[in-house]
């Protein structure tokens, strides 16, 4: 009997849902989107269960194997990213149910575009699964373009104030993808195949492969918003509708980073990359400091959270420095993946909480938050829990990830990296507390008695309260309960050795 193609199902289910939503009224589309979110989650759960028990496996799309067809490759790393996408995705769907239910103002568009919202969101979800599960370089390009175009359209749904941000985002994402495609062309020209698993052993260090890696790394760093290529991110992420902000900051940037990581480890093991890795490490350090400082200077909640993403993405690149050494590589790569997952959950929760707060207050200025914190208890608790994850305090998932990064830094004998990882946590604490300070500060005297003190806020739907809180709890649980995901990560491990007994939780 032929095995049911679960990896394909994880891509096909949201895609089918998207097609259905495109031709339906908004009310029906919300139902279809909820059902296909649930079905996707089930498919991904089965997929995880299968990889857990059977190990990494290759699945040929439609029965056509590589090189003619497209192979899907499900190993621990891919599965962990897919699981992150699905967990965050389910909560984004739940949040969106409330967010798009009543559409009073311009930011929440008319009923037609709400049906369109579900369609676009499910397409982006499906394409992200495609990126994570595909082992074909060109297929990854197509999926990246689908994610990019879908994300731009979603940002533009926020209305006139987001148009420029959406346009800049479109130019950036197209440019990044083309640089990646240039690399794909050079690889195909040199070795005549596109399958990542097959390319790894045969690609040599030639001029063509070095140019290919450079072009792809530049394009993907642009899409991942590595400082100094981050200039497009804050406006796009902060001006998008709330669930879209969460989607972009938590998931979309991780997809391009994941491709970079796969190329780095799977496709180009033959090229000596030590110098480039130190450069990426330095840029990551700059990102952490610059992003955090900028976050502190913002006076809008969503802008602060967006700059925090710039800072947190720095950690993903800082880890390249210890990963360039033999001693630190294995632990550093584990730390990077775990950080990506932990940040995905925490940042998703934080943007959803910020969206709930902004919806309740009418805008997301810090000045309008003053003294109204007690009316916003649930979203603020979610925000604080997510903040714990970003700071890397125990017992959150961020703590586990940072602990792995610190271990890698110690093994690689790079005290600067250890310092940066620690200091970044302190900076994150500063900007998280800035938000909490404004929420619980007394209203400005004078205007206090009428607007601030009574501080009536608009009632927000229950789903918008529940989704960020639950997701924040998941982000914390990733620390308490880190053994299973780390075990999953070690299945079919593409990099270095598995975590040693002393490092296993």
């Amino acid at each position: 009997m032929i095995e049911f193609p679960w990896a394909s199902a994880a891509i096909v289910i949201p895609l089918a849902g998207a097609l259905l939503c495109g031709v339906m009224s908004a009310r029906l589309a919300a139902v279809v989107a909820s059902v296909s979110s649930a079905l996707t989650a089930m498919a991904v759960a089965v997929l995880c269960w299968r990889v857990w028990n059977v190990g990494a496996f290759v699945e040929s799309l439609g029965g056509w194997g590589a090189p003619l067809g497209i192979d899907l490759y499900a190993d621990g790393v891919a599965l962990l990213m897919v699981a992150m996408t699905t967990v965050v995705g389910v909560f984004i769907t739940v949040f969106s149910l409330g967010y798009f239910r009543d559409a009073p103002d311009s930011e929440r568009e008319n009923s037609h575009s709400r049906g369109l919202y579900w369609s676009l969101w499910l397409v982006v979800w499906a394409a992200m699964h495609g990126i994570f599960l595909s082992s074909d370089l060109f297929n990854i390009y197509v999926c990246m373009e689908v994610v990019g175009i879908g994300s731009v359209a979603l940002v533009a749904m926020a209305g006139s104030m987001a148009l420029r941000a959406a346009m800049r985002y479109l130019l950036i994402t197209l440019c990044g993808s083309l640089l990646y495609l240039l690399g794909v062309a050079l690889i195909y020209g040199g070795w005549g195949m596109l399958d990542m698993q097959a390319l790894g052993p045969v690609v040599e260090a030639t001029l063509a492969s070095e140019v290919a890696l450079a072009a792809m790394a530049l394009g993907l760093a642009l899409k991942t918003a590595l400082v100094p290529l981050h200039f497009w991110l804050p406006a796009a992420h902060a001006n998008a509708p709330a669930p879209v902000s969460a989607l972009l900051s938590a998931l979309v940037v991780k997809a391009s980073f994941y491709v970079l990581l796969r190329l780095w480890i799977d496709v180009f093991p033959a090229i000596d990359k030590a110098a480039a890795m130190m450069v990426l490490g330095v840029l990551g350090t700059v990102a952490i400091v610059w992003g955090s400082v900028q976050a502190l200077r913002q006076n809008r909640l969503k802008m602060l959270v967006a700059y925090s993403t710039v800072a947190q993405l720095g950690y993903l690149f800082v880890a390249f420095a210890p990963a360039s050494t033999v001693a630190g590589a294995g632990v550093a790569w584990h730390g990077v993946i775990y950080f990506a997952v932990a940040h995905g959950c925490a940042k998703g929760a934080m943007f959803l909480a910020a969206g709930a707060i902004a919806a309740a207050l009418g805008d997301d200025d810090f000045s309008s938050m003053r003294g109204r914190g007690r009316h916003l208890a649930v979203p603020l608790v979610a925000f604080a829990l997510a903040g714990i994850g970003l700071m890397g305090l125990p017992p959150s998932g961020g703590y586990t990830a940072k602990w792995l990064l610190l271990t890698a830094a110690a093994r690689a004998d790079q005290p600067v990296v250890a310092f940066v990882v620690t200091a970044g946590g302190l900076l994150a604490a500063l900007y998280v507390f800035k938000v909490l300070y404004y929420a619980f500060a007394r209203p400005v005297s004078g205007s206090g008695s009428d607007a601030g003190e009574t501080g009536e806020v608009q009632a927000i739907p229950t789903t918008m309260m529940v989704a960020p809180l639950m997701l924040a709890i998941v982000a914390v649980l990733l620390g308490v309960w880190s053994a299973p995901p780390l075990h999953l990560l070690d299945i079919g491990l593409p990099f270095g050795e598995a975590l040693g007994p002393g490092l296993k939780p």
Partner: protein, 107 residues
């Protein structure tokens, strides 16, 4: 050999030209065109790859270029719609609201 060099040189030239224009130009339609020129450069590289080696043409790069063209058309359409909306809302065709310039400069 010479054919291959002509293709590579054309492709490199187009990619460089597009990238330069993307960075330097301010008018959004020009920037979108710059992206398209970059894309064409990459597609030419792909097309030239199918003629490599002796014997029959390799169809895979051509299939990839076809897919790439579909992607480029969709992206360009989305870009043009966005530019029209930006122009309708702000009256400008730039990303940064700058000083008013002459029509010639605007282009």
């Amino acid at each position: 050999m010479t054919t291959e060099m002509i293709y590579s040189a054309t492709s490199t030239g187009l990619i460089g030209l597009g990238f330069y224009a993307l960075l330097v130009r301010r008018h959004l339609i020009r920037r979108l065109m710059a992206i398209n020129i970059m894309g064409t450069g990459v597609f030419i590289l792909f097309v030239s790859l199918s003629a490599r080696g002796d014997g029959e043409l390799d169809p895979v790069p051509q299939a990839m270029v076809l897919t790439g063209i579909v992607v480029a058309v969709s992206a360009t359409a989305l870009g043009l719609v966005l530019i029209r909306r930006i122009h309708a809302v702000t009256g400008s065709t730039r990303l940064t609201p700058g000083a008013v310039v002459s029509d010639e400069d605007e282009l």
